[in-house]
């Protein structure tokens, strides 16, 4: 089941991700909008998982099969994430806990909570947010990060701590986004909507709660940012640590979660529920094309801009990461990012919507 709002949001997240990564890895420049792509991806993983489950139910797939496929898909994404770390970031970064490993684990968890009362995922999401600063404090987060990069020892305890709390995308608090995405989708797209007979008029749920909660989270996050200096030391130094993505501070998580919810709610009203927006509008077609291959694009864009750096350095007899962040000026790297997206669009449009390409098709072949 495809919703244009989801496609549009995922496309925005893809563009943010590609431009941020090209700029950062090739030119060492951090974009002002860095840190907005990953929350969107994580939220959409929960949202898309809910829609996928509903689609399976509509097709008459039984719950046990849905669970099996979910687990296989979760493990597939997790394993691809590990392989991606090894192949792209080289073996020493195998356990840096990238967004793919997070989404893989999120799928496994969502499969467990999908049939439970809505309060359960909400409670887990809330607790995840609350305990994350405590876990970081217990682990001494900064000791795992050297010069702004996650650099753990290859010991079992460090690997697990990195996975849970100190990695790039640790389970706590990032799992919050997937769970909130799932709960949001279960509210916005009630399952009765998928089961209703043709011609039945089903009342659409109000979007005010989604927009209201999103706005409240955003406002709360901004207040916390402003008032941090006036807070008690335990709260202002340990719990609210300013707007940072690494570590994902409480303000950052609340703020980006609120923004993502508001963006989804607004697009859902403006696009999905708007009968005047044609399904074949050019923007929506482009968004659908990118969204359909988001998993592939995530991996591919790393390969096309990171691998050449490693190869060129080896060719020039330098250390593998010698050119990382200093390969070219920012304008060139951003132009390359734009070219990459343009070429990709042409290729994907040329391939057509029916052809099964990329990692998504491997996942379906292996897991479904």
């Amino acid at each position: 089941m495809r919703y244009s709002s989801v496609d549009l949001l995922r496309t925005v997240a893809l563009f943010v991700m590609v431009f941020v990564h090209f700029g950062e890895n090739l030119s060492g420049y951090t974009m002002p909008f860095a840190g907005f792509g990953a929350p969107l991806f994580a939220l959409l993983s929960g949202l898309s998982y809910y829609l996928w489950v509903q689609g399976q139910r509509v097709r008459g797939v039984d719950e046990e099969t849905i669970s099996k496929v979910s687990v296989r898909r979760g493990l597939f994404v997790f394993c691809v994430g590990i392989a991606f770390n090894i192949l792209v970031w080289l073996p020493e970064d195998t356990f840096n806990w990238d967004v793919l490993t997070l989404i893989g684990v999120a799928l496994l968890l969502l499969n467990q909570v999908r049939r439970l009362p809505r309060i359960v995922p909400v409670a887990i999401a809330a607790m995840s947010m609350l305990i994350s600063p405590v876990l970081r404090h217990l682990a001494d987060y900064n000791s795992y990060w050297q010069n702004g990069y996650f650099d753990p020892d290859l010991s079992l305890s460090d690997v697990i701590i990195g996975f849970l709390s100190t990695g790039y995308f640790p389970i706590f608090p990032w799992i919050t986004f997937s769970l909130v995405g799932f709960v949001t989708a279960s509210y916005v797209f009630p399952s009765s909507q998928f089961r209703s007979r043709e011609g039945d008029a089903t009342a659409l749920p109000s979007m005010i709660p989604v927009l209201g909660i999103g706005a409240s989270l955003l406002v709360f996050s901004q207040f916390a940012l402003r008032l941090r200096s006036q807070m008690p030391a335990a709260l202002g130094e340990k719990f609210f640590t300013g707007w940072t993505m690494f570590p994902p501070s409480t303000e950052y998580v609340l703020g980006t979660l609120g923004m993502a919810m508001m963006a989804f709610g607004t697009l859902h009203i403006l696009v999905d529920r708007n009968p005047r927006v044609p399904n074949d509008a050019a923007v929506l077609t482009v968004a659908k094309t990118f969204s359909r291959y988001s998993f592939t694009i995530y991996i591919l864009h790393h390969l096309v801009h990171v691998w050449p750096l490693w190869m060129y350095a080896v060719y020039r007899g330098q250390e593998t990461t010698y050119y990382w962040k200093q390969a070219m000026p920012l304008a060139t790297s951003l132009t390359l990012a734009a070219c990459f997206m343009a070429v990709l669009l042409v290729l994907l449009r040329w391939a057509g919507p029916d052809r099964r390409l990329g990692v998504e098709s491997w996942m379906r072949w292996l897991c479904d």
């Binding site: 359960v120 409670a123 305990i131 876990l135 217990l138 682990a139 001494d140 020892d153 010991s155 009630p190």
Partner: protein, 298 residues
């Protein structure tokens, strides 16, 4: 004596002329009334018939323009032709009048016309129009009997319509009679509304039982016999019985749905609390494990 439409002599007239014939053929003294069945409390105007409790409906006269103005009320048009005013009582003239009465009744009919000849009284009946030819001194009692019969037939028909419209809903809700889960929980309100609607239908049906299963009146009168014959001809008792059985099935489905929904909701509340406790315990375990890991880590 009961006859069918085929027994009546047919007039060989053009369709275009029929209306004119109808409007001119009815003899003097013919009464045409438009009758609406309304709740006794909302009854205003000339009351032609009072149907007692548990139905408590009055038949009142309304202007012909009001007929069918709203779909809520049951309306009937009734034509009373006095038998003494039929010119010269010749067979040919009487046939013309009867044909005109039948044409008038069938003008908007979608069902076959019931035709009865009973102790010299001729009755043409459809769901919305009734015409009878009778001596003026019996006209009132016959009209009341026909109005009563019409009301109960219309009410039975309306309940049947509601019940048959319910069937697809019941089929849709059938799986919930066996199992209720998180997904079907969203349907709880809808199922509750349908259950209430079903109970309302059953209540309406039970209200007309008194008339449908009324024993024959002894000693019989012309009006009572007309009422009884009408019940027989419209198969009211049989239809009522079948409908009641069908509603029993619906009722069984929705009773099971209600039971499952109630069980599930109660269990769910208890489970939610248990889950919150489990989450808190897991967090406690996580903290302990984390503490252990950090103490052994580098």
């Amino acid at each position: 004596m009961i006859t069918s439409t085929e027994d009546l002599p047919k007039l060989n007239i053009e369709a275009s002329e029929q209306h004119a014939v109808r409007s001119t053929r009815f003899p003097d003294g013919t009464q045409r009334l438009t009758v609406r069945f309304v709740d006794r409390t909302a009854s205003q105007g000339t009351v032609l018939l009072e149907i007692p409790a548990p139905v408590q409906i009055n038949a009142i006269e309304v202007s012909p323009d009001e007929i069918g103005a709203d779909g809520e009320h049951l309306d009937v048009e009734i034509l009373a032709v006095p038998v003494a005013n039929v010119p010269n009582e010749s067979t040919a003239d009487k046939s013309h009048v009867l044909q005109a009465m039948q044409d008038w009744v069938e003008e908007h009919a979608t069902q076959p016309t019931l035709v009865m000849t009973f102790q010299g009284v001729h009755i043409f009946w459809t769901t919305r129009r009734v015409a009878f030819l009778a001596p003026p001194n019996r006209s009132n009692s016959i009209r009341q009997a026909l109005l009563e019969a019409s009301y109960f037939e219309l009410e039975q028909r309306r309940i049947e319509h509601l019940a048959y419209a319910t069937w697809p809903n019941a089929e849709q809700d059938l799986p919930s009679a066996f199992e209720f889960n998180e997904a079907t929980l969203e349907d709880k309100k809808r199922i509750q509304e349908r259950f209430e609607a079903l109970l309302r239908i059953r209540a309406r049906l039970s209200r007309i039982s008194l008339y449908v299963y009324a024993p024959h009146v002894y000693p019989p009168t012309l009006a009572s016999q007309i009422g009884e014959r009408m019940r027989e001809r419209t198969q009211l008792a049989h239809r009522h019985e079948v409908l009641w059985e069908q509603l029993e099935v619906y009722n069984e489905i929705y009773e099971m749905c209600a039971q499952r929904a109630s069980d599930y909701t109660l269990t769910r509340s208890a489970n939610s609390l248990e889950w919150v406790i489990i989450i808190l315990l897991l967090i406690q375990i996580l903290f302990s494990t984390f503490d252990l890991l950090t103490s052994t880590g580098s």
